[in-house]
């Protein structure tokens, strides 16, 4: 069949999966106590919050009366309707990005995350996530680049020079990557680089003044006060520039490198990229560990095929045989496995963003689940889960389409 027909069919297959995921999340949400649901998914217009079922009566403040805002929230969200109606409402909301609001009592809502992030109470969850998402995407793209650049050549080399030192080294890398927790690797790399450059008290290489080397790698932007040694980035004694709201989200696009370039601060753009390198390495390491074995094994399988023997018999130089014939054909399995590892890819982000103090979606997710019952923010929690699921599904579609493009047998079969 033609390529576009395959794309359409593949995309259509996604719909029941997405509806299924939303159903699973809906089952979880409907198990929550009603008061949590009104707190997270209803936007109050007045000052009374819908997070309590009772408030002091207006007539007699010492007694408790039913909270009218709570009641109107229940009606507005349809929480007293039959479960199927609620399910339909939820699917509709989930598809149109109405994922609720940041609850007033949660850690994100009160601003007590201990990180300096101001209160986000009342903001739409989808808006909040879309503000922090570009940063995570930039981190993810960098990590993906590192993964592809390292695992494919290294895997191919391990297969070609089987059981030689390079194969042993990649085995060690594989095993250690499986077993190393991301926080340990991140902390080790961060501490290691800091001490290699002079210790946590050593003066910064990027900012003059009192900034330290540690702060060159910790945080998504330079920490003020920072008199820049290069360029004229005005993250200086005046603090953050207007287009970088208090150091968390940059406008207009949210991608730090792009925004810095848009505002003409090219050194700052380079700085943000460099700050992403260490976290991307940490995320990539774990994924490379799994991918490396598959690349190696698929390359081994391809190299045992008859057409490779034919190519050698024809007299082609070994390099050509490996690069043109074996390499291309082993790409299929690599891409498939890359698609499979996407869901696991996500696990590293909250941890790495916390270790390196980066402001991405993973960080916001971590703050929505931190602490105890009173600190949780269900809107952000379920919104992030849905968002990441969309991303995984989209990535799988892209991988399948690439696979079909590379291997015509898939399209025709």
């Amino acid at each position: 069949m033609q390529m576009w027909v395959y794309v359409v069919r593949r995309a259509a297959l996604v719909i029941p999966v997405v509806i299924g995921v939303m159903t699973v999340l809906f089952v979880l949400i409907s198990a929550l106590p009603t008061v949590e649901r009104t707190c997270s998914f209803y936007h109050p217009s007045g000052r009374t919050s819908p997070c309590t079922t009772q408030i002091p009566c207006s007539t007699d403040p010492s007694k408790l009366c039913p909270n009218p805002v709570y009641q109107s929230a229940v009606n507005a969200l349809g929480l007293n309707k039959p479960i199927f109606v609620q399910w339909a409402i939820y699917i509709g909301n989930a598809l149109t990005f109405q994922w609720g609001y940041v609850a007033q009592g949660s850690a994100l809502g009160t601003g007590e995350t201990g990180s300096g992030l101001p209160s986000l109470a009342g903001q739409s969850v989808a808006t909040v996530l879309s503000e922090f998402l570009p940063y995570t995407i930039e981190l993810a793209l960098l990590a993906l680049l590192i993964i592809l650049v390292v695992s494919i050549p290294l895997g191919n080399l391990s297969a070609v020079y089987r059981n030689r030192p390079i194969d042993q080294a990649s085995r060690v890398m594989s095993f250690s990557g499986y077993a190393l927790p991301a926080f340990l690797l991140g902390s080790l790399i961060l501490a290691g680089v800091t001490f290699a450059l002079g210790g946590p008290a050593a003066p910064s290489k990027i900012c003059g003044g009192t900034s330290t080397v540690f702060l060159d790698f910790y945080g998504s932007w330079p920490t003020p006060p920072c008199t820049p040694l290069y360029g004229t980035a005005n993250i200086g004694p005046v603090g953050y520039p207007a287009w970088l709201s208090i150091g968390y989200i940059s406008t207009p696009t949210g991608f730090p490198t792009v925004d810095s370039a848009i505002h003409g601060q090219y050194w700052l753009a380079l700085d943000t990229l460099l700050r992403l390198v260490l976290p991307a390495l940490v995320i990539a390491y774990t994924t490379i560990a799994g991918l490396l074995r598959f690349v190696r094994n698929s390359m081994l399988e391809v190299m045992n095929q008859d057409f490779i023997r034919t190519a050698r018999a024809k007299g082609l130089p070994e390099q050509t045989v490996i690069k043109k014939h074996a390499g291309r054909n082993s790409l299929n399995v690599t891409i498939t496995v890359l698609g499979l590892t996407f869901a696991g890819f996500i696990t590293g982000f909250p941890v790495v963003e916390i270790v390196f103090n980066l402001w991405g979606v993973g960080r916001i997710y971590a703050y929505s689940v931190v602490g105890g019952v009173n600190d949780w923010d269900f809107g952000v929690l379920f919104g992030t889960t849905l968002l990441f699921t969309y991303l995984v599904v989209a990535a799988n579609i892209i991988v399948d389409i690439m696979y079909a493009y590379l291997d015509p047998r898939v399209r025709l079969g």
Binding site: Y178, P181, F183, Y218, A366, V373, V392
Partner: protein, 367 residues
């Protein structure tokens, strides 16, 4: 029966010849010994005392805002003023304060690995077992290792059943089960686990036992698709075999065939996957507790990830504050390093063993 026993002996023979797998086995035995020893620790009855950033001693409980506030240990030259919350001057400003140290001989028992930054007011009389990093590691071993084994056992069971049913019957049952596994495999594991546990805890399941059950359910929900897929692909092969045909011809019911023929013959890859998962689950647990999600109240019930999380937040706070404020700081690196290394070695040894098991069970490699 004899044939199966001979099979086990052969598998063990091939496993024995694999050096890495034996190294892994040795390390796992060490961890098992630590696990057993950790079980002998008494549950702490006294409420541990913690020093919060700007207050005096406060009792530790999850509702207290000082509960997990990281605080910085800095020592300042005498005569200087403390620069702010989180930094303590050396005694006599706060005579009860004991800076965390890394010592090999703390007088508290064998193999101490340094003290934690939850010092007690009086190390000798209050519950000193509580605050030693080594103790936290021991208790953490019990929790982490125990949880991993529990989770893998339950998750494998459910997945095995569904996969066998799906593969054996085929047709629309197979389609439906596979679509459902697609759905669950699209949701990233850490997010789904936390979502399930949070929903459970919000509905009131908060005691230790209830949390254990909740964690078990959450991981089963997330993990069964992997096992289901493995078992399904195996049972698709098994159901075409002659002996299944013979069993059907002699009138065996579907249930009997599944239980007696399909499941035992599909189970080898499941063993391999189970042993691999015992290596990956501590990592997931550590990630969950590291990002701040309170599975069990730390430090009452420590977990490798929560010990490391407390250490990491203090580490970064120290690094951030010390350089800027020009103070000499005590960096409690051991609080991050040792739990991390524990996870690393546990996971590594399990991976070695699982790899060896896979090679030993692979018929092609035996010739």
């Amino acid at each position: 029966m004899a044939a199966r026993y001979a099979q086990y002996k052969r598998t063990w023979y091939f496993l024995r010849r694999n050096t890495l797998a034996m190294v892994g086995l040795a390390i796992i035995i060490l961890f098992a010994a630590a696990f057993v020893y950790g079980l002998t620790y008494p549950a702490s009855s006294s409420t541990p005392v913690q020093y919060c950033a700007s207050n005096g001693p406060v009792p530790v409980s999850p509702d207290n805002p000082c509960y997990d506030a990281p605080y910085i240990v800095c020592t300042y030259p005498s005569g200087t003023v403390s620069p702010g919350p989180g930094c303590y001057q050396t005694p006599p400003d706060n005579p009860n304060f004991i800076a965390p140290t890394f010592t090999l001989a703390h007088g508290l028992g064998a193999f101490p690995f340094g003290s934690l930054v939850y010092p007690s007011a009086d190390l000798s009389t209050s519950d000193p077992l509580f605050y030693n990093t080594y103790t936290m590691l021991e208790k953490g071993t019990v929790n982490s290792v125990g949880l991993s084994v529990l989770i893998v056992a339950t998750g494998a069971g459910v997945g095995l059943l569904l996969g066998a049913l799906s593969g054996y019957f085929g047709g629309w049952i197979d389609e439906i089960v596979m679509r459902i596994t697609d759905i669950f495999l699209s949701i990233p594991a850490i997010l789904l686990v936390i979502a399930v546990i949070i929903v459970g805890k919000s509905s009131g399941l908060r005691s230790f036992d209830e949390t254990l059950v909740l964690i078990g359910i959450a991981f089963v929900v997330v993990w069964w698709p992997f096992y289901a897929r493995i078992v399904r692909s195996q049972s698709l092969v098994v159901r075409e075999q002659r002996y299944v045909e013979a069993a059907k011809a002699s009138g065996a019911s579907n249930g009997r065939i599944i239980v007696k023929h399909v499941v035992p013959n599909s189970v080898y890859p499941v063993f391999v996957q189970m042993s691999l998962d015992v290596g990956t689950i501590p990592l997931l647990l550590a990630a969950i507790t590291f990002i701040g999600f309170v599975l069990f109240p730390y430090p009452l019930i420590p977990e490798w990830g929560s010990v490391a999380a407390a250490g990491a937040s203090i580490l970064t706070a120290v690094f951030t504050e010390c350089g800027v404020k020009g103070a000499v700081c005590a960096v409690p690196w051991w609080q991050v390093a040792f739990p991390g290394l524990a996870i690393f070695f546990f996971s590594l040894s399990v991976n070695f063993l699982a790899d060896g098991l896979r090679d030993a069970l692979d018929p092609r490699l035996r010739r």
